[in-house]
């Protein structure tokens, strides 16, 4: 029998995670209120803040609408129709995730306009994307996989008998889709939408390149262009408030949604819709998406690479790749180590104890905090409280870990669900200590989950920009950082090798994860673990 109280050792990481995120944020508040009263009033009641809030929320809503318009048909095609090849749809729905937004924005900017790829190849001077529409386009193309993965999993595992019942009761297929299928997608949509929303709120790179002012773009601009940091601190606080509001809204919409099957039902595949002539618009969507999200970005990078290739740059590329891969590897290990106890507590004690569920959710705190605000808070905090950590590698790793631990919890949690506690109990009865039972029975069982977690964090750290920009040690050049610096200066050829290296390593990792995740989706495993990427599965969708 396992004791009902968890070992205190396991609680420590949760406490550290919460403190690690909240302490710097508390210091940010302290800093923000450090200004004089008159200055404070002037800062807080600036009309610019309203405009930024409007832009930020407007863009978030628009991106949600557009990603849904792309992800839902694609997910439907991939799960419920005779569209072939299905495997290609899956790739198309996942691979854009490997391309960071700033690489996508870089590619689309460098592809268009006078002297861009499109003009060089076709002679047409295609207008460059910028402003609201530019930001919307790029964010849609490279974040829709969050929704796609969730909707795909939900559509695939939905109980077909409900739809059959609706059809038997005389509904047309279209009515059935609207009144049965779509409402059942709500939880999946909400958790995917939350990830997309958090991503848009926190993104500064795409909006900066597209010159569309949102809160994150304004924080970055203040950070780089003003001698005074009080306003940056305030913008970060306002963004935190906005993010909290979005989280509360999501939690509210999620409340009372209970659409799970009461009984297991038959493990049957849903009926397949025959497309007929509908195959034409389906292919149109697929080709358009392939072109915009994959062919144009990669084509542009390759074009600029061959146009102005400087072999001397390979030395810098190699160094940047080493730095980036090294940091990503270390962060992947530390994050997985931190995620394990959180997932373990949630999985083993969460059923009976509310505090255990809260502990697990602590992981989402760092993920929901907009990275630029978090980085700024850490800069202030480390200088005043832990100056020896300021601009050091350990602090950067700590920031990555706290920010990405939520991504690592998901897969570990899923594998823990499969490794039944009965085995641990048996090991204990046979005389093993709790630690021995853990290392000799449970850990070997959940090893695949640990690998997926680590791979996920590795990929995320590789792409990460805001934390890296603000917190990295002097001379710490990563692939992401170089793409950003050169793109900001419109040196497209110089940015190309770094962008290509990032996109290729990202694609490779995504494919590996996808293989691993789909490979284990056996028929009996399907119900409990719909194959979806772990970051797209916060428990019941409420991350806090």
């Amino acid at each position: 029998m396992i004791s009902r109280r968890p070992p205190l050792l396991l609680l420590l990481p949760a406490v550290l995670t919460v403190l690690g995120v909240l302490l710097p944020l508390a210091y940010l508040v302290f800093r923000a209120f450090g200004a004089e009263a008159s200055e404070l009033r002037e800062i807080v009641f600036r009309t610019r803040n309203l405009e930024l809030a409007g832009n930020t929320l407007g863009l978030t809503a628009a991106v949600l609408a557009c990603t849904t318009a792309v992800a839902l048909p694609l997910a439907f095609l991939a799960t419920r129709t005779d569209f072939r090849p299905r495997r290609f749809l899956m790739l198309l729905g996942v691979l854009p995730l490997a391309i960071p937004g700033y690489v996508g924005a870089y590619a689309l900017i460098a592809a268009s306009g006078f002297g861009g790829t499109i003009q060089a190849l076709t002679g047409i001077n295609w207008p460059g994307p910028s402003g609201f529409w530019g930001a919307l386009g790029v964010l849609t193309l490279f974040t829709f996989p969050y929704l796609f993965l969730n909707l795909h999993a939900a559509l695939r595992t939905q109980d077909p008998s409900l739809e059959e019942a609706a059809r038997l009761l005389g509904r047309t297929p279209w009515q059935t889709f609207l009144s049965v299928t779509v409402p059942h997608l709500r939880p999946a949509w909400l958790s995917g939408a939350l990830l997309t929303g958090l991503h848009v709120l926190g993104d500064f790179s795409v909006v900066s390149l597209m010159r569309y002012p949102t809160f994150s773009a304004a924080i970055y601009q203040q950070y780089t262009a003003a001698y005074d940091r009080v306003y940056s601190a305030w913008l970060a606080l306002l963004l935190l408030v906005l993010t909290a509001a979005v989280l509360l809204l999501e939690a509210r919409l999620m409340r009372g949604v209970s659409l799970s099957r009461v009984s297991p039902g038959g493990a049957r595949q849903p009926t397949t819709v025959r497309l007929g002539w509908g195959v034409i618009p389906a292919w149109a969507l697929v080709l358009l998406l392939t072109g915009a999200a994959l062919v144009v970005p990669l084509g542009t990078v390759v074009y600029w690479l061959t146009r102005d290739f400087d072999p001397a740059a390979l030395v810098d590329l190699w160094e940047a790749a080493q730095t980036a891969l090294g940091a990503a590897a270390v962060a992947a290990i530390t994050t997985t180590l931190l995620a394990f106890p959180l997932a373990y507590i949630g999985s083993r004690y969460g059923q009976q104890h509310r505090w255990a569920r809260l502990t697990e959710r602590a992981a989402y705190l760092g993920y929901a905090t907009p990275p630029l605000a978090f980085a700024l808070a850490l800069v202030f905090f480390s200088l005043r409280v832990t100056p020896s950590l300021y601009q050091t590698f350990p602090l950067l790793i700590a920031a990555y870990t706290l920010h990405f631990v939520a991504e690592a919890v998901g897969p570990i949690r899923t594998s823990l669900a499969h490794a039944t506690p009965r085995l641990e109990e048996a090991a204990r009865v046979l005389g093993l200590s709790p630690l021995q039972a853990l290392t000799r029975v449970t850990l070997p069982l959940i090893r695949p989950g640990l690998w997926v977690s680590a791979a996920f964090v590795f990929l995320s750290v590789l792409k990460e920009l805001p934390l890296t920009l603000l917190l990295s040690p002097t001379g710490f050049d990563t692939l992401a950082r170089n793409v950003w610096t050169y793109t900001e200066e419109a040196q497209y050829a110089a940015a190309a090798p770094y962008a290509l290296a990032l996109a290729l390593s990202g694609a490779l990792l995504t494919l590996l994860i996808l293989r691993r995740e789909t490979g284990k989706a056996s028929p009996q495993g399907q119900q409990s673990t719909p194959h979806r990427l772990p970051e797209a599965s916060p428990q019941q969708g409420t991350p806090l």
Partner: protein
Amino acid sequence: MKLVLLATTALLLAGTSLAQSNTSLTIYSGRAKTFVDPVVQQFEKQTGIKVNVRYGTDAQLVAAIREEGARSPADVYWGNSVGALGELAAEGKFSKLGTALTRNVSDDYLPDNRTWLPTTVRFRTLAYNTAKIKPADLPDSVLDLPKMTSLKGRIGWTVSYPSFQDFLAAMISKYGEATTKTWIEGMKALQPKDYKTSNVGMLEAMRAGEIDVALTNHYYIQRVNRLSYPIETYFFKNGDIGNLGNATGAGILKTSKNQRAAVRLLQALVSKDAQTFFLSVNFEYPVIGNILQPTTMLPYADIIKRSPRIDPTVLPKNIEKAQKLLRDAGLL
């Protein structure tokens, strides 16, 4: 599991020691890597002193040095503008430089109290697309640019760029805040496109036909001239604020524990090699004599006459004012 833990600890320790083991020089550079890296590498080769460079914008690094206070890891600040350098000098952040260092340097931009050393000189100008604009149609003074309603939507500027903010600060010094405010608002009415800090991006956009004129620094136009872009330089009348000259420069932080090595670095920046390099790679005017200039550039003696004389010591305060005006106008 244990192995993983051990490996992590080892890696973290390695990371820490990498970050801390150097007793060498740290430069905070507002200047781009392209201009800094070759000079630094040459310096490392000649002296054996290891140099770390932290790149950023002037404002970001000035703010960092302020935040860091006595704990700043920076030994040398190498900035893009008189404004940023003056800001740090005014706060007493810099050590006074010896005459051995400043002896051969032109005193046009050398501050009287010798707190920092000019490294190159550059000028504000107007770039225009030769296919679209006749120079005769352009105004004599930058102050009249807002009147050019024919250019509505066709003007580029870089609001976050330090040289641009210095230019506004100089306008405040010479004409006062009210005139500057009116100028900003007049310009805003012409819906200029803001390229943030990217002058290169702005001139690329001019080539792409997005804009026809752009407020920029002289050397950006020199650079694209070499690529035969249809872009030329327009100077306003002599002494106009639109032709403002500005220096890049470097100062040694008082908090640095490597003062002597830092002096050697500054010496290297005004050496003939480095000065020739700045001119050849970026067309910036040298601060020492006897360096041959390309014929596409106005001789230094001519161009310095076109620039107004502005007291550099009041610039920092006026930059804060300029930034406030830009924020009030919703531009920053």
